[in-house]
Symmetry: C2
């Protein structure tokens, strides 16, 4: 069984080390961690842990004086689900998002959990850096490149993301990015809809069956 | 100075504990952590660390046999920036996103980094859970509730998020959520635009000066 654990702890060197020590001692496997500073004095730690005894965990956490409060609950994975990431120019990102959000809505009503996350941004360096950083984000299901001209370093970043198994949809555009994409789509709304269909278990669309196609 | 550190490590109990131990030993303060399992055998760990000597860190990491590869780079905060979170019904979420993405684009061109992240979802329980979980997400700048009827548990969750200092914009709608919002806006495009303006340093809009207003 998987649990979600939220902890508000002191913002001090070594706190995450101590907390992960408690979990390792109880034999828990940490599947996901997120930690960030919330104020000068406190940091927030969220974890998804499997194979841990909840009562034992509570007993141990109650003993930790560096913990201000904690909560055991549903995992974020169940709440925010898989993510569609859309990167590119504002006008086109907005249209792809519209298609993706509308289609995600239809699947989420049937029990899916698909989030649609976007970054409107300009410039080869910036876009390449953002594309590559997608590999550092959790729960990414698919990446859509929405622009009119993308190549060079962006294409290199696209190759890197693709090699890690994340499918990529590109709008029809100038530059070398469309050549690397799994699927190229002209209509931004449709690109968004297909992105949601590609990662929804409730849809029948399989991107592997149309790989390399241009719509 | 703040660094970004990405590590591909073995998927074993205790790995995060060991890695945080290395960083604590060198006196580094971990500002942000994200860790997730990438395959059966490997986990990916991303950290933002301040006050650490990069050369010493490299020397220590080279000695860790549980690390497959690592990289030191720019932080995700600099790449994806502050987040606008939009939660609600698909049709309205898409319109708010359109406004937010267009406006974020204009600020991002001037050096800002604003991401627009959405979750189209239905049902009081589901929305309330998602709203409350916003507190567990990193880099959240503002939350927009986009729907036609929201109250009950959603309002309780909104109060909780607001109490932690995250500003909230609500569309004009039925239910008690608008009463709790910092700002209520009728036009979804404008709600999105204002959300981006509220968190952009490059904009002059201060949500504190219009708190409680209805547009």
């Amino acid at each position: 069984m998987e649990i979600g654990l939220s902890v508000l702890a002191e913002n001090k060197v070594g706190v995450l080390h101590k907390l992960t020590g408690v979990i390792a001692k109880l034999g828990g496997n940490i599947l996901y961690t997120q930690q960030f500073i919330t104020s000068e004095n406190y940091g927030f730690i969220y974890m998804e842990v499997e194979d841990i005894d909840i009562e034992q965990l509570k007993k141990e956490l109650d003993k930790c004086n560096y913990i201000k409060e904690y909560e055991i609950h549903n995992t974020l994975k169940k709440i925010f689900g898989k993510r569609i990431i859309i990167i590119g120019g504002g006008a086109q990102v907005a249209e792809v998002a519209k298609g993706a959000i509308s289609e995600a809505d239809r699947h989420n009503i049937r029990g899916e959990r698909i989030s649609v996350d976007t970054l409107p941004i300009v410039g080869e360096e910036n876009i390449a850096e953002a594309v590559e950083a997608v590999l550092k984000l959790p729960r990414v299901g698919i990446l859509v490149l929405a622009g009119s001209l993308m190549g060079g370093k962006i294409t290199e970043a696209v190759r890197k993301v693709k090699s890690k198994g994340i499918p990529i949809i590109s709008l029809k555009m100038f530059g070398s990015v469309p050549k690397e994409a799994d699927l190229v789509v002209g209509d931004p709304i449709q690109a968004g809809v297909l992105a949601a269909m590609a990662i929804a278990k409730t849809a029948k669309f399989d991107i592997n069956k149309v790989r390399g196609k241009v719509l």
